[in-house]
Amino acid sequence: MLPELGQFALILALLLAFVQCALPLYGAWRNNAALIALARPVVAGQCVFVVLAFGILTYAFLAQDFSVAYVAQNSNSTLPWYYRFPAVWGAHEGSLLLWVLILNFWTVAVAALSRRLPDVLIARVLGVLGFVSFGFLLFTILTSNPFLRHLPALADGSDLNPILQDPGLIMHPPMLYTGYVGFSVAFAFAIAALLGGELDVSWVRWARPWTNVAWAFLTFGITLGSWWAYYVLGWGGWWFWDPVENASFMPWLVGTALLHSQAVTEKRGSFRAWTLLLSIFAFSLSLLGTFLVRSGVLTSVHAFASDPRRGLFILVFLGTVVGGSLLIYALRAPKIAGGKAFAILSRETLLLINNLMFTCAAAMVLLGTLYPLIGDALGVGRISVGPPYFGFMFALLMIPVVLLMPFGPLFRWATGDWRAALRVLRPALILAIVAAAAAKLLIPDLPLRGLVGVAATLWVGIGIALYALKRWRDAPAGRRYTPEMLGMIAAHFGVALFFAGVLITEATSIERDLRFAPQETQRIGGLDFAFRGVARVQGPNYRADEGTLEVRHDDRLVTTLHPQKRQYTAQQMQSKSDIDPGLFRDLYVALGEPVGTDGAWSIRVYVKPFVRWIWLGGILMMLGGFTAACDRRFRARFSVEDAPAATAASPARVPA
């Protein structure tokens, strides 16, 4: 009975989504106050039914209702209760419902927090969001219904993929989806502005905090995914350039460009076309990612089960949403470049380079991801490109970004003085060069990547610290840092930590596959690893071989590690590595196979310096995004005389 109610709720949500799209948009066009006022209540109504449907599906998992086909495929009776939640979104149908649920949360948030904005604009924004929701609900109901029954009910389900039975997976998809679904808000604002023919750019200021928050969630989601891959997949990698990863990375790249572009448009009125296009692109790439992951056009190690009907549906939907928005853009985009003039040496120019580089990087990733398909279309056969292409191209495109990043905050709007900026940055430059030289002397066989890592980290990290220091000295107390500026400082500092993590880890990690006899001790990277044998242990829904290794440094016990090989009930094996985390190095141990009959095992040992800094950097970037979104300026009251770059609304802002 309940699953049928769930399906019914989905259908009602679909109808409300249609209402939410059609009537407010029509009302805004005809200037009909009643229809415009309809937007908010309908948003709330739709959200209630989507939450109901999601709740019913979750309940079916908790209650182990194996008469629902989706539950039977992705859970079984031994699955611990806390993994039944991620099991809800562990496969295609449920994750699609999660997508819709999160879109509804964003829509409700926009409806609730936008009371100060003009009603006509909000009616358009909510209408656009309603259209997106309508498309996804229709997709769910027509091709991917999670409530389909499997009658008679199965006695037991087939199990959630053990690789997904992990705390990381409880958080990773919701965060990731919150991120890229969140770009729909910036998208809806851009389309609403185009539809309304807004001549000023005040909509950008209202859209900015939403973009910041969405970007922060996406950053966090990607960081979690990378960390999860690192400790779950068992071979110590943290990024694989897999099509599914690329699907989340492309919106992130364009989203990063969008953040910066929005700042320029809001403050200076320039880059209007960039901001409009990037708003459309960021969300389009989220949709494209959804298409790539679910259509079966590209094969990936962790793609969802594919079905050509689903692919066709999403393609038509993608074509409608993106094609429609680009058409509106082509018809209504501002015909003359607005905003204040700027010199070649100015903050605007630096941000323009930033926009270009990040957009190119996203295009590069898209090209690499679609490469097999292009090969087919040109009749030269399917050829995949892998990490060598992505790694090289991405590093190449990021070189200008790294070199110019510390200059960004130090340049003034309209006209910058590179001599003055360089004077401030001189300590960072000197320190970066000296430290790289010292690293070369201390570790003569350090590869180039390590040297670049040291130099780039110090250049960017100290560069941003010097900027913070300059503000501290120059500005009067109380107005030194706005939240927006603090967010920028945190995020840029996060980038420095990220560089340190990536480049130093790649240059200096030690990876060994070793055979350990019982009680044997081997020395790896200056540490003694002593093998104390393997024992059998029992988990909630698996049995495991658990090894014990003691790690000593100069006879002082550093840690004891217990890597496992798990045998889940439904005949699936999963290696569970054990990690001793540390700020400056991780010890990472994965259990292999018994070798011979004397109790010896093969064991993989990694020593990974600075690997945590990759995720630490990601977390700082996320915090930066959230902090910047809190800026009071974005909550400034809407008023008629509120000009695009008005200073009256934001006394705290100081051009820096």
Binding site: G234, W235, G311, L312, L326, A330, L373, D376, S384, D513
Partner: protein, 185 residues
């Protein structure tokens, strides 16, 4: 013009994606021509799965034809193909080389222990670079490589009794007809 450009680029992209769907539904995935056919197989040197300290170089395989089967423990179709390899390919007497692709070697060993080892030689391509050299985009894929290291035939997806009879056997027959028959192993 510049304002219409994004729309045009996107239309082209949609065309490409639509083509992708059409291709997947109207084409047998296995009919993708490989640019490698008739050319020398890419060189590789890969560690043996069961003895990771030793490596196998592609030139060690010269002298007699062999089948290179790309698989992974993560690949459900490879599991489906497994009994066919054991029951139908092994009796053909041709050497069967397994290439464990983008896989954790430990998982692959479990897989081999669980289902049995149909391969005469088993090497591992953990980071997938050799797979890229071969233009592999999904597993399983199988290459027929002759005694001189030239790729003669490629099968994408699992073997079925029909295509072993209609495609693979004639290709193997061609190879043996061209050369003086040699001991397969």
């Amino acid at each position: 013009m510049s304002r219409v450009l994004p729309l045009l680029v996107f239309t082209a992209l949609c065309g490409l994606l639509g083509f992708g769907i059409w291709w997947n539904t109207h084409h047998e995935m296995t009919e993708v021509p490989s640019p490698l056919i008739g050319k020398a197989a890419p060189d590789f040197a890969l560690p043996f799965l069961l003895e990771p300290t030793k490596t196998l170089a592609s030139k060690d395989l010269r002298g007699a034809p062999y089948l290179l089967n790309v698989f992974g423990s993560w690949c459900p179709t490879c599991q489906d193909e497994h009994p066919i390899l054991t029951q139908q390919i092994k009796p053909l007497g041709i050497r069967l080389v397994g290439l464990d692709w983008r896989d954790d070697p430990e998982d692959a060993k479990r897989w081999i222990v669980q289902f049995g080892n149909p391969y005469d030689t088993l090497v591992t391509d953990r980071d997938g670079r050799t797979g890229i050299d071969f233009g592999v985009y999904m597993a399983p894929e199988t290459f027929l490589i002759d005694a001189d290291g030239i790729v003669r035939y490629k099968r994408i997806g699992m073997f079925t009794p029909e295509n072993i009879r209609d495609e693979l056997l004639p290709k193997i027959a061609e190879l043996t007809a061209r050369r003086v028959p040699q001991a397969a192993r």
